[in-house]
Amino acid sequence: MSAAAAKAKRAVRRPVSIASFAQSQNVRRDDQHNEVEMLMPVVAEVFANIGITKNDIDFICSGSSDYLIGGPFSFVTALDAVGVWPPMPESHTEMDGAWALYEAWALLQEGEIDAALVYSFGRSSPGNLNEILALQLDPYYLAPLWPDPVSLAALQARALIDAGKGSEEDFAAIASRSRKDALSNPKAQVAHDIPVETLLRDEYVVSPLRRHALPPITDGAAAMVLAAGDKAREWSDKPVWISGFDHRIETHSLGARDLTSSPSTAKAADVAGVADGPIDVAELHAPFAHQEMILKEALGLDDGVTINPSGGALAANPIMSAGLIRIGEAAARIASGQAARAVAHATSGPCLQQNLVCVLEGE
């Protein structure tokens, strides 16, 4: 089926625009602010960008994980960053903010409301991420062995090398390019210009992953305003539209997956219509350098696509926000006129188990 035929077959969705985006400075450790204090300036900025207040918002959805700060209800107090009085329609997902965005987008499809605030926050610094993320695994057969996320990613990278689909030089090239691009991203945590040959002299953290192929540990927050109907035009002269949106999950057992491919990303890309037109920019949530190669293949991106001009998750990886930030960064490229059509991606779980794809278009 041709791309045009596929597009014609796809269900018609209500146009929803990304009206505003804001993110905090991404840092290794923000121990001067609690979650509310981290979020308040970000929420204030996302409103100020388009001159609105919370009174213009119909629905709020947030994404975060209790486990990062070791408390049962971190999202409860975080809501104070918005100040929901009088009470507001509000929901929370224990997933990356990109999925909170999906929930808000779905609600806007009904046509009953026109504006939503989405925010997410991730403080990775209070605990030990290697121990915390091991608790995402099957609690009976995997978690008791405490496999850490770096070791699992290293298994994936090794499988990629063994399959002849990537090399340590490729991983280093991705890391070098990403952090060099991050030099022009004022919110980035890690940005520098180091050539591949130098990076390849790094020690292994877990073979075949050297230090440069790992994401930084980041504290950060992000917020976005979605608009539909008249508000989309009212709040932007050149709206950035969400033209396709989907997410898919794979099985949990790593032994039952081909770790060198990402069928869930490919499926989400198909439903979201990535191939319906040319892609100029891709913001991919690839915390480990080699994962960019797997995602690029699954999304069907050719070498002409600019990947992660923000530096991606290798430049800043605030867990629970890094996916939402990819969508915000991709939208910014369209808003600035650098791109006409972009794809943004978010991931969750070990070795890219769950993936979300969002296609954005200007006009």
Binding site: Q109, E110, R248
Partner: protein, 384 residues
Amino acid sequence: MAEYCAVIGVGQTHHKSKRDDVSIAGLVREAAKMALADADLTWTDIDAVVIGKAPDMFEGNMMPELYLAPALGAVGKPMFRVHTAGSVGGSTSLVAAHLISSGIHKRVLTVAYEKQSDSDAMWALSVPQPFAAPLLAGAGGYFAPHIRAYMRRSGAPEYIGRMVAVKDRINALRNPYAHLHLPDIDMKMVEDSMMLWDPLRYLEACPSSDGAAAMVLAAEDSLSGSYPPAWIHGMAMRSEPTMFAGRDQVNPQAGRDCSADVYAQAGITNPRAEIDVAEVYVPFSWYEPMWLENLGFCDLGDGWKLTEAGATAFEGDIPWNTSGGVLSSNPIGASGMLRFLEVAMQVRGQAGEHQIDGARRALGQAYGGGSQFFSMWVLGSDKP
């Protein structure tokens, strides 16, 4: 523009203190398979899975949707996780319903669970956190002062709480899935039980349960199953802050606004007259009279009079918590969904011994956090 959505399948586990015969995956699968069978569907008929549970710390399993994806037939599909504190079972149902009413999917499986025996929820709720006042001693310790405030405000006599505790446990005797079956329950048994958080005694508090609930929701053109669909006539969520001097924690504004919203959608102007049966989140006995007022079933200060007069009993004019309610089964993450599910069973006429004859329109309510998160739906046997 929104599509009609209906409940076409329901399932739940036998709720118990310890379901050590099953893993977490086994627990959720038990409820999900029952819901699929009720809808006369199989896993492959489902477009997406929406799962909810209360804090991950309750089982020590971070973002468990990742591990549960294959057990719920979600591989290759969208799988979405909801967490809105105690209201989560209700909110999860609503997020799933919106995936239908938005036109995105045709059939969605929604599941909620808690396996409380894997940990100690009371202490998981009481982890000291930087910058935050300690909650101490779990939910009962938090809500008891608000109950005292209600008693003082309304002049309700002390025995009203005990009446609710007895009434809901008598209802639970009709429900084979309920955790607590106390055939000898009476006012004296409740009065003789240990004082936990004054004025709440042991038998005025919900149990700790292992359990799961599941529903299949479908669009108008995708109905199936042998029981009639339960149509959604209204659905809403509202939240308000935990700490705010202007809050009334006894009669929260978010609860009033949420019910006003669902009643407006359903065209209900007199809840007591127009709602045949209600399942309302009553984890501690006194929340029945408090929510009667908050949900507009009576004037302020009169909630306890309805309880006292037997209006909310099985034979009363507004039966509340025919399943036995949260007071009889409390798998926390699933408790809200069990409320939403019970009203689906009522309007579909499949509630067996706890069926209210002629139930055609019903309200499901869940709340969470410090009485600050609300989710509700109104279901009807007629297409809206």
